[in-house]
Symmetry: C2
Subunit: 340 residues, 2 copies
């Protein structure tokens, strides 16, 4: 069972290797009829291009840049760690990774970070961004220069990003809703929502998912206006404590992201019996799960997300197809009983 090479295809099609090569790499100067003959020969022989040899011959290296959120949220500090860790595996495939951490919730900082590279933009960017017009323009500017752009973790819809890599955040919200629906035994009450900011698409979508479930299936529960914590634990704790003190009817809480530590602090101090779903598997949420303060934690795997982003950027650069199943990022649910 020996491999079929481009040379074999050439013989089968009755053309030269050069022509097969022109077809393979979509170079011009081949008649449609000839292209047809070559592709048919490839089908007949079941020719599969040897990626390894192709990359080697091309001698191509790729530079991809991650622009991520700085700050000490457990998730983002994990994410930065995973990007660092991905350097090694990426290097084996001739991919160099760069990373810039910018302050959260500040689109201008992202634009500045991109500008700081000057003409050395590399081949692609993966950007964790808030949704803003400035970002849409920055993405368009990159695309116009032939740089590939994907949004990462949090999407920027209606921009020219080629793809979004991250979980289905509406689905995550629905999961949270489905869990709260079953966890809350009170016949009536309010559900609080804590988020980072209304400019974070992922947070907005998660809340949407929660509301979808609540409206459709839980007429006895009311979703309260959300608390914006700006990714700050203390601020979240202060605002949430105030809410819980003023509203004794809160029976459920969904912490959409950011400031989870503050959420846990406020819940522990509150008199109500509250069912709680949060994000991020950190030491704090882990302890809270065990203690019973938090009932479930919804997690996205940053390690998978980083690998997926690199694969997608590489596929865009190589113009190869993306394996959709592989790039579907899963939402994991952890409860006290299945903590890893």
């Amino acid at each position: 069972m020996t491999r079929v090479t481009a040379q074999d295809v050439a013989e089968e099609a009755g053309v030269s290797l050069a022509t097969v090569d022109r077809v393979l790499n979509k170079r011009k100067g081949v008649r449609d009829k000839t292209i047809e003959r070559v592709t048919q020969a490839m089908d007949r022989l079941n020719f599969v291009r040897d990626q390894a040899a192709a990359n080697l011959a091309r001698g191509r290296t790729y530079t991809f840049t991650f622009i991520v959120t700085a700050g000490e949220t457990a998730f983002f500090s994990d994410l930065r760690g995973e990007i660092e860790a991905a350097r090694d595996f990426a290097a084996k495939e001739r991919v160099a990774l760069r990373m810039v951490a910018v302050p959260p919730l500040d689109p201008q900082a992202i634009v500045d970070a991109i500008d700081s590279f000057g003409d050395d933009l590399g081949d692609g960017f993966a950007i964790v961004s808030v949704e803003s017009q400035a970002m849409r323009e920055a993405i368009k500017a990159l695309r116009d220069k032939g740089v590939h752009v994907i949004t990462f973790i949090s999407d920027v819809p209606n921009s020219e990003r080629q793809r979004f890599v991250g979980i289905d955040n509406v689905a995550a919200g629905r999961v949270a809703g489905g869990l709260l629906k079953r966890f809350i035994s009170a016949p009536k009450g309010d559900v609080a929502v804590v988020a980072g900011s209304g400019t974070l698409r992922d947070h907005v979508e998660r809340r949407m998912g929660l509301e979808q479930v609540m409206r459709a299936e839980c007429p006895h529960l009311t979703v309260l206006p959300w608390i914006e914590g700006e990714e700050s634990g203390p601020l979240v704790e202060q605002k949430l404590s105030k809410l819980l003190a003023e509203n004794p009817n809160v029976v459920g809480l969904y912490s959409v992201g950011g400031g989870t530590k503050g959420v846990i602090g406020a819940i522990e101090a509150a008199p109500q019996e509250i069912s709680v779903v949060t994000t991020e598997l950190s030491d704090h949420t882990r302890a809270a799960l065990i203690a019973g303060t938090v009932d479930a934690v919804l997690v996205q795997d940053p390690s998978h997300e980083v690998r997926s982003a690199v694969r997608v950027l590489k596929a865009l650069a190589d113009e190869t197809i993306i394996n959709e199943k592989q790039e579907r990022i899963r939402i994991e649910i952890f409860m006290r009983d299945n903590l890893p």
Copy 2:
């Protein structure tokens, strides 16, 4: 930013390319002191071996064989489909995949399947197996011939398999337990368990996980002896219907795997109000989730598992390291609200 090649390492270490190559490929004929110098030079320059070029030069191709369960279970028919689908992506990396489907629960069939390859064993096997002494011996025989062996989906502990690729089945059982614990509102009752066979390690482990949670946290619930359905829907339906008719105290059910269609049929006909957790996301379970017959479905992604198996076998063959995070197969939880 040009790549560091073996040639660069040779210069840095003050040796020839041939020596670097000997060190790289662990060939003998190099003094320890020299090995040291070369590896230090590699560290200094941050040398990363180009896998693509290496495989190309080696001209090596790999043949891996999947031995999987035949039969029409949704999961296994998906799994077989994914193995077929993986052929393309594998071919790009010089990996040929073979697949044999054998009747379920029959270790001898697996042994026969292996024997049918004669001396053409290829480089590795991924085997979905029941636990039995015959299998342990067959695995040992393969290993003795230098063939790599991993168990797949269901493990065979205490065998010489080099690795198990699949989910943590005890954790899956604990998740089921955690969910049932919360879903069941009755103050007291029995929990039924339906499984394929006691020789399937994955089923045994899932039940173990369930019992761990139940014993520790649910003194009010009693786990009943399990029903063995031998992967047959009708048999499961018959046995389970009988149980439900005789025992009005059943308030929860965990279908560990196999015969899910029968489970759903029996539940629908039963008078009790039962909280149900099953496996496999098929048309049947999907409809049952929407109808409310089933409360949650625990899923493993066969597409991920197949890719993981191929990567692991390749890493074993190449003697390269395995990225543990990438190979952790996740357990997904679907409820009515987050059906994809």
